[in-house]
């Protein structure tokens, strides 16, 4: 019988570390996941987000720290006894079992009565909208359908916590959007806590209640999607959150922020910490726009038509690349005058 019951208050990771030989894959991960919460672990590949998930699942032993479910210590319990649901990146469906028997697997291990198994499998398959495929083998299903089976198999036992390891990364773009909505719907319906690993910031922003950004085996920022999008805590988080323009520049604190130099022009920004003589400036391409009298002069190098707008790269007077979006047509070779609102120019200590 799994130890985790559905009504826990919180899952806590305390100073969780994991080494692989000399390589320190995880350092000092602290995270609290409340009941019903959807938390995304976001970061570039190799940042330790999947390692964190496997530690929570119990598939990897910790080399330091502890994991708690309320007052119960979890990291000394095997994965069989944690009772968490998991959706694997490659789905890991049992290829020799039919869809029905794949989904029933967890209930059969719990030795549930046959009638109950039938009923709950039917419910789970209905929830992921996969009726009528029961007797097929996983190999006969499309990627999206396999994904649904994997979700049904993970939730059928009624786990308090569902772990998802890049579940959408093997799907094509259209299906990915569809399944993203599906995951959101299922989460809302079941209300089970979910920890979701992804390297796609859009996925994390759209699904999660809170996001933990990890870089180099360490959590760098934990916050709501809005926080992370608008106010990344550091320049490397900003880089990962889509602040494509990252420039080092001489800086100066002002009364209400910081002044920096971009492409030879003085630009006002928001100080994200105590800024010294040099700073890292982060601006999203969306926040940098050509205007009639913008201070930053640059020459357009490449312009891509994106339907609603243009996405362009311009070369500044200091030789720096400036990425921006423009509502009006821009062409290569054109000189543009770019401007950004001081609230959207983030200045980090270098």
């Amino acid at each position: 019988m799994p130890i985790a019951s559905r009504d826990f208050r919180e899952l806590r990771l305390e100073d969780v570390s994991r080494d692989f030989g000399q390589h320190r894959a995880l350092r000092d991960v602290n995270l609290t996941v409340k009941r019903g919460e959807f938390v995304a672990l976001l970061g570039p590949s190799g940042c330790g987000k999947s390692t964190t998930l496997n530690c929570i699942a119990g598939l990897l032993q910790l080399t330091g720290g502890s994991i708690w479910l309320d007052s119960q210590r979890l990291d000394e319990v095997g994965p069989e006894d944690r009772g968490f649901g998991m959706v694997f990146q490659n789905y890991a469906l049992f290829p020799h079992l039919t869809v029905r028997r794949n989904v029933a697997f967890g209930l059969v291990t719990q030795r549930r009565p046959k009638a109950e198994i039938e009923r709950r499998v039917d419910e789970a398959l209905a929830l992921v909208r996969l009726n009528g495929q029961d007797e097929k083998l996983p190999g006969q299903l499309s990627g999206g359908q396999q994904q649904r089976v994997a979700i049904a198999r993970a939730i059928v036992v009624g786990p308090p916590l569902v772990l998802m390891d890049e579940p959408l990364s093997n799907l094509d773009a259209k299906l990915r959007l569809e399944m993203r909505a599906e995951i959101r719907r299922i989460h809302t319906m079941l209300g089970c806590s979910t920890i979701y690993v992804t390297h796609d910031q859009e996925e994390a922003l759209s699904l999660a209640d809170r996001i933990m950004v990890m870089i180099d085996g360490q959590p760098r920022q934990i916050g709501t999607p809005e926080d992370l999008y608008a106010r990344p805590a550091s320049a490397d988080v900003a880089e990962f959150m889509g602040y494509r323009n990252l420039l080092t520049s001489p800086a100066q604190m002002t009364v209400d922020g910081a002044a920096v130099t971009v492409s030879g022009a003085r630009v006002l920004g928001t100080a994200m910490g105590t800024v010294g003589a040099r700073a890292t400036v982060a601006i999203r391409p969306d926040d940098l726009q050509p205007t009639a009298d913008g201070p930053i002069a640059a020459t357009v190098e490449i312009a891509e038509y994106h339907g609603r707008d243009f996405y362009a790269v311009a070369r500044g007077t200091g030789g720096e690349d400036l990425y921006f979006r423009s509502d009006r047509r821009v062409a290569a070779g054109e000189v543009v005058h770019l401007a950004a609102s001081p609230a959207r120019v983030l200045v980090y200590p270098a």
Binding site: P2, A57, G58, L59, G78, P79, E80, D81, R82, G83, F84, G85, M86, F88, Q89, N90, Y91, A92, L93, F94, P95, H96, F105, G106, T109, Q110, L137, P138, G139, G143, Q146, R153, A154, V157, N170
Partner: protein, 294 residues
């Protein structure tokens, strides 16, 4: 003229036949000359006995207990050896899969294959004989009062078949085991299955088709045992395997037709067993043992 030529070529290529296909010819000739021809020659020869009608050799085999008993004697050695090697190789392969120094262990296990049966038999004779290390050590420590008889009997042949057959079944099984996506076992664990349940409900069903092949190949190896049955066994008694009577017919009595008939019967018995194993294989899942498009 050239147009039709071209279209013939193209038609052939669409069926996968082009210049490269010609490279198959030496191989086909080799198989024809060294396998198909001798086999058919032997088959025809077996129906041309020295005395009696065309089935006299087969009649002789099945009426002379000295001859037909060998089927039973051989099966008594080959079946347990096959099962033992295959069953033993599964847990070992499952363990080795998780090891870092796989190569070293694999190399050690492959050595008996490279040494050949005769060399292994010679080593076992020295090691297991009445004056060998094993018996001397056991006697020294007072664990036994008389030397254990492990050679020139059933057990000598069995040991030799395990030593030379196990590495083979192990390597085959290891390749099947490593082909199974480790995420499947992890998924089983996440769903509450303990290692025993994971083995019987996930690993074994996925290994079954591979094990059927392993059993078939291991059986053929064990059934045709010859050098170790003579060197380590009791060729006049309990290890008078079928290949020994075939040898005796051919090279002691110079009755080639009878020897051919015995060889044909060996082939027939092996075919029946292999057909049975492969038939059983049809009943289990044989698809790819990894999932997803990953």
């Amino acid at each position: 003229m050239s147009a039709t030529n071209l279209s013939l070529r193209r038609r052939l290529r669409e069926h996968g036949l082009d210049g490269v296909t010609l490279l198959v010819i030496p191989g086909v000739l080799f198989v024809l000359a060294l396998f198909i021809y001798p086999f058919i020659y032997g088959l025809i020869l077996s129906f041309q006995p020295k005395q009696g009608g065309w089935l006299a050799n087969y009649a002789k085999f099945f009426t002379d207990p000295y001859l037909y008993d060998t089927i039973w004697l051989t099966l008594q050695i080959a079946v347990p050896a096959t099962l033992l090697n295959t069953i033993l190789s599964v847990p070992v392969a499952l363990r080795v899969r998780l090891m870092r120094r796989q190569k070293l262990l694999t190399t050690i296990l492959v050595i008996p294959i490279t040494l050949g049966t005769v060399m292994v038999a010679d080593g076992l004779l020295t090691y297991l004989g009445p004056r060998g290390w094993l018996n001397r050590t056991l006697l020294e420590f007072g664990l036994i009062s008389d030397p254990v008889r492990l050679i020139h009997n059933y057990w000598g042949v069995m040991l030799s078949l395990v030593i030379s057959g196990f590495p083979f079944t192990f390597l085959l099984t290891l390749s099947y085991v490593t082909g199974i996506d480790p995420a499947l076992e992890q998924a089983g664990a996440m769903l509450g299955a303990r290692s025993r349940q994971r083995f019987f409900r996930i690993l074994l069903p996925l290994l079954a088709p591979g094990l059927a092949i392993t059993l078939a190949l291991a059986f053929v190896q064990a059934f045709t045992v010859f050098p170790s049955a003579i060197l380590l066994g009791a060729p006049a008694g309990p290890t008078r395997v079928i290949s020994i009577v075939a040898y005796q017919a051919a090279f002691e009595q110079f009755d080639y037709p009878l020897a051919s008939a015995i060889a044909m019967l060996m082939a027939a018995i092996q075919l029946v067993i292999i057909a049975g194993l492969l038939g059983a294989r049809m009943l289990v899942f044989r698809g790819p043992v990894s999932t997803g498009k990953g």
